[in-house]
Symmetry: C2
Subunit: 500 residues, 2 copies
């Protein structure tokens, strides 16, 4: 069987090489490509996607997986080879259920839909976007049908991002979370607001860059195996075990976007940099799921980067970099400012106490659209109603309402919940870390992150995509995804800040 | 036949997409890739090369070329389609003559040889490199044998870079050129040397960058379809009709490397940016040959950038950027300094009057090695003898002698002569341009390059790879490659500078 396994690995290595090649082209497209490069880049990316898909769904790989199935079951189920055979089989069976013609048609549809979204969003012109979204919903339903029988039409969508997770699981989690977050938000809104006006002034870009670099270097980002550049939308991308890059951006006014965005992307990058080199060029050289990936970015951004101990250490340095802007702002005021809770329209700018509410309304709406219980034409109204109910404000137009995110225009149904699940997982892990590293706060207050990183490497990062997310989380924390640690965290943190 | 032609084009477009993808990865490797990325990048590049080769030598393309051959002959021979069929057939027949196993073995050999060269060169350790070069020479001979019968064993090597050109042609050209260049150099050496000490001081990098950008913007480089970055070795690369990039580098001391290097790469880039968009994603979206490409880079670098009229316009600006370094250097002194002729060891740093001599000795040696009349073990001695004879100096070690260039270590036999041929072609074109644009000097002295660029676009650039180099040059200038315009130019220019 070793010969078959080696052959399988060499074929999968080529698929990985092609996917990583696409990632390089995508990185370049978003960082340095001149405007004239778009047209040809489109051809290159679509060819690479086609080749990677063809190579992956080949009969050869299917036959190898068949002949290796029994062998895989005899191995230690946690071994790299057993996981490789099992996880690849799962992905292969999914990929081969979807007809190539559907993939081509859907890619064509969403390519046009994204263009239309880009153009119609600034004008809040939902009617222009509507027919495209209707077709996308219809095709997403067809997609689910390829995986019949299912418990819920949304299950196959979710499984693309959170392998093994069911719609009912997510709904149960969110049903527990939502009322408590809504209630917390109401309590906060009844209290006097904190001042964050000092965050809304102009900060020198180079100094922001330098401070961000200092912070993520302290976190443990390996610059020999990565780099940072600028892009319109920050992202993390990996071209191999030795090359995981991040990007950042700067606001015209303010410091939060670059500062916390850099920590967030670094969190993703530390995950990728920590995956065992033994898994390189296999499908296992990836995160466990989107939610687990997001748990890492949110942990470094929020649990570390927006914490009191972190600023005990770093605030003096930040003040030194920005004496005019922050010299007269005491630490306590700064800490409250960066943690200000405020009902807002835009998900990506939402604070920790409201963020999940933005996600939950999206999940409900996309499930209803897929089920057919919400017509696309009624989406704006349903959106606005929930915004009022959960967050307490109503968008002045669809631009900042149901048209604000790109995800639906590229057909990314099933994607949104992973953001909120990532928040929840980050706290489940954090409670374990606090137990295992009693000195954690003290270490952070001393600017020392190596024990924290070592814990994450050991328990999360090194395993890559070997396990399904629920299995991995259970393995580490003893339970599946659970909203309670996050609720405890929110109540404690914002209770202190707002004196609840 | 139109259906076959369309199918051929769509298959060739994919080959082009893959080659351009490799180019993006190569660009990234030389500009931004962190050290950790090397290993995986190697896998990605070798897979892309394999896929592009497989796609190109496919039976499908062979059959289409066969069935289109007669059709192509009925078309206007200068039409895009006729050229596409003809040129692709030439490349296809070459590519399919070489066994895949040979390609793989040679690639393996040169990959190791380059490593050895990198390590042994600093120590002038020719003995360490020798066995690898011996094997490379042997395999290059095998390569020629795939194309038997040939007039000369070197012909198939040369044809890879200069399609259609014969060894006998190049030898005839060089035999006419060499004694006159050697004689000119002797005359110059007998005269008092010019002073260029002001070029060997520290120049601010950002100001060098800005000045270079100003110059190539004036040349007509299209920043919407390109960009400039830094790399250890400057190069130009193209990822499509709308994305042609250049790189530059800065010396610790001095300004010449960045200044003339930037103009040189811009010359290459203007060529690529000027190829007809109709040829995009075909094998014709390329230069006619290496020599014709080099004619463009050398023209902008030397015939424009090292000319009196150019500095009549730009010197004031350069002095303004570097008042401390150049404020007291009069224009005449600066002009002579940047054109200083000096026997030197290193080809890439050679001036216009000695450059070709470096090339000619390489050509003679690589021909002799291939013929078997020079054993690799005797290369250092043969090199040093010719250096003394042509240029008048002897390298202190092989590092700056026969081991100075990377080319032989990657097996690039046939490459060197294109550098000298490019110089010759640049002057043949220049004499036509001077005839067609009588105001050329005046325009350059006014910082106006649009008529010059338009001429090059019309006569050279737009045609891309449609014609063989000799055919293209004959078409434009009325004669094949001819050393006399270059000899006239050298004698006039350096006669004035050195008062011969």
């Amino acid at each position: 069987m070793l010969k078959e396994l080696d052959l399988l690995k060499s074929l999968l290595a080529e698929v990985s090489d092609l996917n990583r090649t696409s990632a390089v082209l995508g990185w370049d497209q978003q960082t340095y490509m001149p405007p004239g490069g778009s047209e040809d880049r489109g051809h290159q990316l679509s060819l690479l996607a086609k080749l990677a898909h063809e190579k992956f769904v080949s009969k050869k790989i299917g036959d190898l997986l068949d002949s290796l199935q029994e062998y895989g079951k005899q191995l230690d189920p946690d071994s790299n080879d057993a996981c490789l055979i099992r996880q690849t089989r799962h992905d292969y069976l999914k990929a081969t259920r979807v007809p190539t013609e559907w993939v081509a048609e859907f890619s064509q549809l969403t390519s046009v839909a994204q263009d239309v979204w880009v153009k119609s969003r600034p004008k809040s012109d939902f009617n222009a976007f509507r027919p495209h979204l209707e077709k996308i919903v219809e095709m997403r339903r067809q997609y689910s049908d390829f995986f019949k029988p299912f418990d819920h039409v949304y299950d196959p969508q979710l499984d693309d991002f959170e392998p093994g997770l069911k719609t009912a699981d997510v709904q149960a989690i969110f049903n527990e979370l939502r009322p408590q977050q809504v209630d917390l938000l109401k309590q906060i809104n009844a209290k006097p607001q904190v001042d964050d006006s000092f965050l809304k002034v102009k900060y020198d870009e180079q100094k922001q860059w330098d401070f961000g670099v200092e912070v993520i270097t302290a976190f443990g980002y390996d610059w020999q195996r990565g780099r940072q550049d600028r892009s319109a939308h920050p992202f993390t991308t990996s071209f191999g075990s030795g090359d995981t890059r991040i990007t950042t951006r700067f606001d015209q006014l303010g410091i939060a976007s670059a500062l916390f965005g850099t920590m967030h992307e670094c969190g993703h990058a530390l995950y990728d940099q920590g995956i065992s080199h033994e898994l390189n060029r296999t499908p296992l050289h990836d995160g466990a799921s989107m939610a687990v990936h997001e748990s890492q970015s949110r942990m470094w951004e929020n649990l570390v980067g927006r914490s009191q101990p972190f600023w005990d250490h770093f605030y003096g340095r930040l003040q030194k970099a920005f004496p005019a802007e922050l010299g007269n702002v005491p630490l306590d005021k700064f800490y409250k400012g960066i943690n200000k809770v405020e009902p807002s329209l835009i998900r990506t700018e939402a604070d920790e106490a409201t963020y999940n509410l933005h996600i939950m309304l999206r999940l409900e709406l996309e499930i209803m659209m897929l089920e057919g219980s919400l017509a696309v034409k009624d989406l704006p109204e349903a959106w606005n109603k929930r915004m009022e109910e959960y967050i307490g404000i109503t968008p002045p137009g669809d631009k900042d309402g149901c048209m604000q995110d790109i995800h639906w225009s590229f057909g990314g149904f099933g994607y949104f919940p992973t953001y909120a699940l990532g928040n929840l997982v980050s706290l489940q892990l954090w409670e374990c870390i606090q137990r295992d590293i009693p000195e954690l706060d003290k270490q952070i207050a001393g600017g020392r992150f190596s024990e924290l990183l070592a814990w994450l490497r050991e328990n999360v990062h090194q395993h890559g995509h070997k396990f399904e997310p629920q299995a991995l989380i259970q393995k580490i924390t003893g339970s599946k995804i659970d909203p309670n640690p996050y609720i405890r965290y929110l109540k404690r943190k914002f209770g202190e800040i707002y004196g609840l």
